[in-house]
Assembly symmetry: C2
Homo-oligomer: 439 residues x 2
């Protein structure tokens, strides 16, 4: 099943695909709430100058300005948010007096970016963010809790196993300092290209500003990957040290030893992760999905000292919901088991039986079983065809010979059996639409 | 508790208010799904020319144009949708080949209108729409089903009882035709002002183009309100007839006799309802909330022959979620019973007990009980203060003298009792935040 056509970069789903998105959103929501994160659903627009402050550089051109058509000619003073962090930071600043810290919130909302549409990139997309922020010092326990929550949440989704690659920005930064590298941020921006250009590509660029030994050691550090805290020995073997490096290693060890895994997901210390160093200040992590590693990160997060421009230390996670769906709904991927919530179609033989049929539907709904009455008397064959087309699993016949003795047809087995309205229940796995593989 | 400050017309909620919005959205969603309506969540933007086609007239200036900041200077070709009907119509047209008719869908989404902010009017707002559309002829059964679903859905919400005022546009239109009124649409647009200017105000305007007898009869018709089909006799007493009037009366009788009420909501035939006659073609209805009648309509719907510009007959309902919340959260209105999903705070005595505390939280979550571990060892008084500030109902102590014998403090009763992790459960009504009255 293909992703829908339509306005480039603005994806929409067919009903049986929407079931998948809804399942993802509900699952993430339940996972975040079980861990005490409160829901916020913030406005879609922010002042353009607030949006520009973070985005900076070239990318600001991707912001969508919003302006009433009546005001054409004026430049847009408001824009659609391009992430969920800026609205959250503004909210915390505006309403700090009403909030209790540490403040834990989640947001599952759309954002907008006017970037060039390409595979995995959308102009309108849903992200599922959770952050904990506080005033003063943010306890180190959250450096374990947040990646743990991310791994467990991804585990709860109908997706392949996710490996979370964890690092600490102080490790790379402190290692550079210990190596005597002068332009640490510039150097790390180059290391960040490892995924794109490979080790040899990075070596070529670094060689212009660093010695061969510095480059060798830096690339050796960035290549370290261990499933536990054993990276410590590998770092020590490189013979580089600095206070910042020691601090980073201690923090990364605490994370690697603190996370407890009992699902499908795994965690690796990956000392080559160098994401967004101008923003993150400690623990950082990004998740790759088994079999889809080349697609890149599907979830990520990290610790920061400032929430956007505010002095609020925090740590956050983000799941790229639309990105995941774009990958997993493509081709013969996931879909819903049917295109309607309806579990039972109550057939209608003639207008005289309409009140009986309506009462059957009402009684089923009272017991949480979604049902609808066929809207007009038609040959049963036509009504069954409608049910089959929508994937409705059962058809209820309320007008058989014996008054009060109804029958239900199971459209999978084609069995038709007498039933009692007060006690009949559908198969558990057919009560609601759920996610299945298309093949 | 006041509605939040902030950008005029763009409302946001505090965490304990968000609980109310979430409850409304979840309740509406469950109600629509139980009746077989499938979920769609469509893109936020449409081409401006598509948006203008319906909106027309003066109001098009309220559309928000959207344009990348990089493209400043060009006029916006895309805009934010101002209702959920236009995107739905476009979707049905684009993907008709993938849909089974009658197609039943619901959308609970934001729309945007750049109108002057005022009480009850927002520039960004959530509506909860459900429509059934088909090709060919739409069965009359839906004229009963849809207002019935609206009444039952409003009944399920924590709001005052709603009265649905039902009419049929053929009644007013056919009555005008029977009276010999020449400009029927123009006349009905004036009748539509009854709520705003009253009967005498309408009379003053109508007198300019109609005879005194025509005005008297029209106002007499528009004043008819009956709790059942008895309006028929009152219309007949006015001595006006036309084929269209007969048709409208027959349809309205079928609706009034078909709707079954067993909740708090009520239905009245109100022959003065004259909403959107350029769009609706049969049954129309609007809901007023007890005690808030002067605020105006909080939900509405009706039958149409064309879905936006498409030849798709249908009937729809819409609940103004943000409008309802604006009314009900104002002042000492509704709020959530607490500001966090957390049901149990697991206290932390010292770092040595962290694994035990984490295991308690994990075990509770496995049983669906939202819980969090206090992030660092602190005096119990401080941890309890945090729980009280967030409204968390229970604090769990995992480090008492007897190993394995934990205690739970109920922060409402202040009772502290020994508990068994495998069997302890919170009070049912304190498992999750729910909606309460603030007073």
């Amino acid at each position: 099943m293909a992703i829908l056509k339509g306005k480039s970069g603005f994806v929409e789903w067919l009903p049986e695909q929407q079931v998948v998105e809804d399942t993802f959103v509900r699952t993430i929501r339940e996972s975040y709430e079980l861990r005490g994160f409160t829901h916020l659903f913030l406005r879609s627009i922010e002042p353009v100058d607030v949006l520009l402050r973070k985005e900076g550089g070239d990318t600001n051109k991707e912001i969508y300005g919003v302006r009433r058509i009546a005001d054409a000619g004026e430049s847009a003073s408001m824009g659609l948010h391009f992430d969920l962090t800026i609205p959250f930071a503004r909210y915390v600043k505006d309403y700090a007096g009403h909030l209790t810290f540490p403040f834990k919130r989640y947001q599952i909302q759309r954002s907008w970016r006017g970037e060039r549409p390409q595979k995995g990139r959308y102009r309108e997309f849903i992200q599922a963010d959770a952050d904990v922020v506080t005033r003063g010092k943010l306890p180190a326990a959250f450096d374990v809790e947040m990646p743990q929550m991310l791994v467990e949440t991804m585990d709860a989704l109908p997706v392949p196993p996710v490996t979370l690659h964890v690092n600490n920005v102080k490790v790379l930064g402190g290692f550079c300092a210990g190596l005597g590298v002068e332009d640490v941020p510039g150097t790390l921006r180059i290391v960040d290209k490892l995924d794109k250009v490979g080790a040899e590509g990075v070596r070529d660029i670094l060689t212009k500003s660093l010695s061969a030994e510095q480059v060798d050691k830096l690339l050796a550090l960035a290549a370290i990957r261990t499933p536990d805290a054993s990276f410590v020995a590998e770092v020590e073997a490189l013979g580089v040290s600095s206070p910042e490096l020691d601090q980073g290693i201690a923090e990364l060890v605490a994370v690697m030893e603190g996370i407890r895994l009992d699902g499908r997901g795994t965690v690796v210390a990956n000392l080559g992760i160098a994401r967004g160093l101008d923003y993150y200040t400690g623990t950082v992590f990004e998740g790759l999905m088994e079999g889809f590693e080349t697609v890149g990160t599907v979830c990520s997060g990290g610790r920061y000292d400032r929430l956007a421009s505010e002095q609020l230390p925090g740590i956050g996670i983000s799941i790229g919901v639309t990105r995941l769906l774009g990958i997993l709904l493509d081709g013969d991927g996931l879909r819903g088991s049917r295109s309607t919530p309806t579990c039972v179609l109550v057939a209608l033989n003639d207008d005289a039986h309409r009140p009986v049929a309506a009462e059957v539907a009402r009684a089923l709904r009272r017991r949480g079983i979604a049902s609808e009455v066929f809207p007009e008397p038609q040959p049963y064959g036509k009504q069954i065809k409608y049910a089959l087309a929508k994937g409705i699993p059962y058809v209820w016949f309320a007008e058989v010979d014996e008054p009060g003795q109804h029958k239900v047809k199971d459209l999978a087995s084609r069995d038709e059996t007498p039933v009692d309205l007060a006690t009949w229940s559908p198969d558990e796995d057919r009560l609601r639409p759920h996610v299945v593989s298309a093949d």
